[in-house]
């Protein structure tokens, strides 16, 4: 690579060409040509619509009058104002944060435990590893439905067992009860039950994702490092703390950012489990409500923008602190 680059650069620099295209120029053209279908699709279906959302967010638009909307419409900050001061908006931002942090933390923690447990060889490991990935690959609609039925107070197995074997007074509506009062050692705590259930679901569904990445990284840790420590009499927790954890640091950081962003944007899981009720209304579900129930496109757009603004901050952090390191290593 490096050897060929210099003469090419020299050739490219040597004079404007009436001559046939240099290799460098041909490569440039071919590169752009090969990438153009991708760019067109992404531009038309992703980039332009996003720009349009920005425009929509600053205009008073409902679905009825959307035909009359153009680039040169009436711009106004009314939507943003309406959204930021509307009841429930800041609660939903708070809910989104709690949901995201909880789900990110637990999915990575469980993923790490799973990766450590399934690291060594044993009979049937391939099968166990594959089945651990099931929650991640299965269709979200199917798994949310199974959870709903499992946790249902009327015909769910969990509540039935809870009452029969664990001595619950009555069935618990995991997905539709906002708060659950519990007394623990004389303390009364109100647990946000539905929110916790949704977080548990998210941890269940996405720990395999963390597990996959962590296991791949664990298997790339040089064996002799660990063996040397064991010969020196290090206990397993010490090996983990001083040898494995430092090696996993970068992957855990990457996973934290990825999972955080993905969960922050998540719509399907909460919508399907609770419909956004019982204190689980995250911002994306709220946007959907504005869009389909009220047909208030402007307000939906403004809310989506607030969500995106939060995301851009996160992306900036990611690019600033993580991406440079990764690129350096790739070079």
């Amino acid at each position: 690579m490096v050897a060929t680059r210099e003469p090419e650069a020299a050739r490219a620099a040597s004079g404007p060409s009436k001559r046939p295209l240099t290799r460098r120029q041909r490569e440039n053209r071919a590169g752009l040509a090969y990438l153009s279908p991708t760019l067109i699709v992404v531009l038309v279906v992703v980039v332009l619509p996003i720009l349009w959302t920005v425009m929509l967010a600053f205009q008073r638009i409902r679905l009825i009058n959307v035909r009359r909307v153009g680039v040169f419409g009436q711009y106004t900050l009314a939507n943003l104002e309406l959204v930021l001061t509307s009841p429930g908006f800041w609660t939903s931002v708070w809910t989104t944060l709690v949901y995201t942090i909880g789900a990110t933390f637990f999915s990575i923690a469980f993923g790490l435990v799973a990766a450590l447990a399934l690291r060594g060889r044993f009979r049937g490991r391939t099968l166990v590893r594959a089945s651990v990935l099931l929650p991640y690959v299965a269709p979200v609609v199917a798994v949310t439905f199974v959870w709903e039925v499992l946790l249902s107070p009327q015909f769910g197995a969990v509540n039935n067992w809870g009452v029969r074997f664990l001595g619950w007074d009555r069935p618990i509506a995991f997905l539709s009860q906002r708060e659950y009062s519990m007394s623990l050692f004389g303390w009364h705590v109100d647990l946000p039950l539905a929110l916790l259930t949704v977080i548990a679901f998210e941890a269940w569904r996405y720990f395999p994702f963390a597990f996959l990445f962590l296991l791949a990284r664990l298997q790339a840790v040089p064996r002799d490092l660990e063996e040397a420590a064991v010969v020196d009499g290090a206990a397993p927790t010490q090996v983990f703390r001083h040898i494995l954890l430092p090696q996993l640091g970068a992957v855990i950081a990457l996973l934290t950012v990825l999972r955080f962003i993905m969960t922050f944007n998540k719509f399907d899981d909460v919508y399907l489990l609770t419909g956004g009720g019982a204190g689980t209304e995250v911002v994306s579900v709220r946007v959907y409500e504005f869009l389909t129930a009220r047909f208030d496109i402007g307000a939906a757009g403004a809310q989506a923008l607030v969500l995106a603004a939060g995301l851009i901050v996160l992306l900036a952090i990611y690019l600033r602190f993580l991406a440079p390191r990764v690129e350096e290593e790739e070079r």
């Binding site: 090969y34 299965a138 199917a142 798994v143 439905f145 791949a216 992957v251 994306s284």
Partner: protein, 289 residues
């Protein structure tokens, strides 16, 4: 006194098996529950919700018959939904590959203006909230009359999967030695011929893994199907059909469980058939740091 290392090793040795056991139960049980509930009569489930296992003598396949037969014949019409899902997913997979293979080749091999910026664009697309995209696309497709059509949905899936697809393929393509292509060029192959006859056969495993991955994303997708197709029942995908019907009370839960099995089974079969291929493709590059 035994030393710390021995004690720990013994405790963790036991703990490890407990963890493995819990993991298997927690991940597999919901799917087993789905399968077992789908073959039991509904009144029996309502009477005795805590009972999981029922002998083969009590099994019934009536739930599957009901969920699959067309609406006109008193069923739920999932056979048609399966057809829709398959059509959208296969079309999205093929078109995504058609677009992303040359794209990935360009990104991994060719130096062109704006190559660095392209990476950033893809990352942004991959990480951007799809609900943000949903608003303008909802409006746009309403205007173009594409709402309710499977073609519109397919286009959205392509745009959503192409960036990930390029990223995965690029990682693989960069492991193919460049000298092979130079040799092909010596033999007088054009760039396109080289891509088709030299690079593509070598990258076949990665392309396969990628195809499966895109297929799974398209098959499992819910939000855009909900936004675009909800008013047109004959075009529902399986995911949308199940979600819509499970909200109501008209269809019994065991029939819907049969629907869940029908929705999940193709994915699970594909996944187990190609597990190694997929997990390696997904984490390619992760072990670099």
């Amino acid at each position: 006194m035994t030393d710390r290392a021995t004690v720990e090793r013994r405790v963790l040795g036991v703990l490890r098996w407990i963890v493995i056991g819990v993991l298997v139960v927690v991940t597999v049980f919901p799917f087993l529950y789905m399968l077992l509930l789908s073959v039991r009569p509904i009144d029996e489930v309502l009477q005795n919700p805590g009972r999981i296992w029922a002998g083969p003598g009590e099994w019934t396949l009536r739930t599957y018959r009901e969920v699959l037969t067309p609406v006109g014949d008193g069923g739920q019409g999932f056979l048609r939904f399966l057809g829709n899902s398959a059509m959208v997913s296969i079309a999205a997979t093929l078109l995504t590959l058609l677009v992303s293979i040359p794209g990935a080749y360009a990104v991994s091999r060719l130096r062109f203006v704006g190559r660095r910026q392209v990476h950033f664009l893809f990352l942004a697309v991959y990480l951007f909230p799809s609900i943000l995209l949903a608003i303008p696309l909802f409006v746009l497709f309403t205007r173009l009359g594409l709402r309710g059509s499977l073609a519109g949905l397919t286009i959205v899936y392509i745009a959503q999967t192409v960036p990930v697809s390029i990223y995965m393929l690029r990682n693989y393509l960069s492991t193919i030695p460049e000298s092979l292509e130079e040799a092909a060029a010596m033999d007088g192959y054009s760039r396109l011929q080289t891509l088709r006859k030299v690079v593509l056969p070598l990258a076949a495993p990665a392309v396969m893994a990628n195809a499966l991955y895109v297929f799974m994303i398209a098959w499992n997708e819910f939000l855009f199907a909900l936004l675009f197709l909800v008013e047109n029942r004959s075009n529902w995908t399986v995911s949308l059909g199940l979600a819509q019907l499970s909200g109501g009370i008209e269809v019994s839960k065991t029939v819907l469980m049969a629907g869940s099995v029908v929705l999940t089974l193709p994915i699970v079969v594909l996944f187990f058939a190609a597990e190694r291929l997929l997990t390696e493709g997904l984490t390619a590059g992760a072990d670099k740091g």
